[in-house]
Point group: D2
């Protein structure tokens, strides 16, 4: 595994909430990040779908990591984002893929699509857009 992805994985593993949710960083390279979350019972709402809060977490955190890939070695946070839910998330795996649309010196604007995968089929569940901001003194995406 490359060194950049290793660093990203360590940052994610240092977030107790990301561990609670079983999130895994599977891509972390200049301009993009991808997080996977196995769909398990604890992440659902009362109708058996993945809770919107989990989908939001996935979008938010993946946006942060994507922004982190272009904002240099300092830590980053999501300043704001917006999400549209388009389908209930159901299946085996939640996949969030974020890309950088614009990267400045201190802020990046990123997009993230969240898919639910059942077998080999992926369906779009939500799409998000937000601003990631560089912090001073930190070292990896913080959320």
């Amino acid at each position: 595994m490359n060194e950049m992805l290793e660093r990203g994985k360590r940052a994610l593993a240092a977030q107790p909430f990301s561990v609670l949710i079983d999130a895994a960083l599977v891509a972390y390279e200049p301009g993009r990040a991808e997080i996977h979350i196995p769909i398990t019972a604890k992440l659902k709402q009362q109708h058996g779908f993945v809770h919107g809060g989990v989908v939001s977490y996935a979008a938010d955190n993946t946006l942060t990591f994507a922004g982190g890939t272009v904002l240099g070695s300092g830590g980053v946070v999501t300043s704001e984002y917006k999400i549209n839910y388009v389908r209930p998330a159901t299946g085996d795996l939640l996949i969030a893929r974020a890309t950088v649309i614009y990267g400045g010196k201190t802020q990046a604007v990123c997009r993230c699509d969240v898919f639910a995968k059942t077998g080999s089929e992926e369906r779009l569940c939500a799409t998000a857009q937000g601003t990631i901001t560089k912090m001073s003194g930190a070292s990896e995406p913080a959320s």
Copy 2:
């Protein structure tokens, strides 16, 4: 406790993810809802602040419940929302308070402020705005 709040509490208790996060509905009345989440280690990121995903969950779910108070007896979902994080959330308790800005027949536009409480002091951490949509066939806020 009033009957409406009882119903809301049952809806929240039926969401495994809300149980995982220890969310409690403390107000659920026409035009507003309030959810509390004790700030514990499992909900944090690597710098000791509440993870943004938890703050998002709080905003999203409280928006949904607020919308649910005016959209009739059918179930509701959050269609979309936007959140601005303004301060790291740290302290004892996360408090999300949502109100209905506009309630139509099938959609409501709501706002939510999220505070972190330390002792008796509350500080604004995030503010959100979104659209809640009525579903057909369900019975309580679903998220």
Copy 3:
């Protein structure tokens, strides 16, 4: 008229597009701003309502001015915002009122409600939330 409002009015008058739209700044004081736009034929869409683009302009620009009241003497711009349209805007006057929710050193998070006034009755048409950012070297809200 106070000196701060005078300065704000000059900034607005220096924007050709605001002049084209007949926008008037009627309040500009620490933490809030208000812009009025007479509803005339040129600002409408095909069904006789005020065009969404005008409502957006009103929200955007009033957010900028509100942020400008707390971000010091440097110029400011809207970095991003979100708007929900809740009713068609029709009547005599469009009124946008923005307040600062959070003011930091370089950014402010603001909200704006846009009303359409017919006679003495105001009806909410849209509500917005966004981030205003301080620029270096400029002197008044720029949009």
Copy 4:
């Protein structure tokens, strides 16, 4: 010119505000729309850039038209959208390109990128995401 684009052009020409801004619909086909606006003095703010309100108008209206291409023959409106400004818009021509991300029966979620073109070079100025909703009884995008 194809018949669909003709219809779209007539809808845009029926909006006095779009005429005031000199907006032209140049693409209107299933899943996407594109609007061009010549950058002229009347559309600027005090520093010589295109006013944010014009950029917002371009994003909003192009989102509406894009949504209209997939929501059937009834009229559509933008229910809500969010925009991030990433660079000042300057040059000869403002170009807004919107695509449908998700199309349902009554709502579509769309994205729009807004570029400023100088000579043959296009630069991204803003990016937006929003919800377009079908109305009953109308016939073309209304904004």
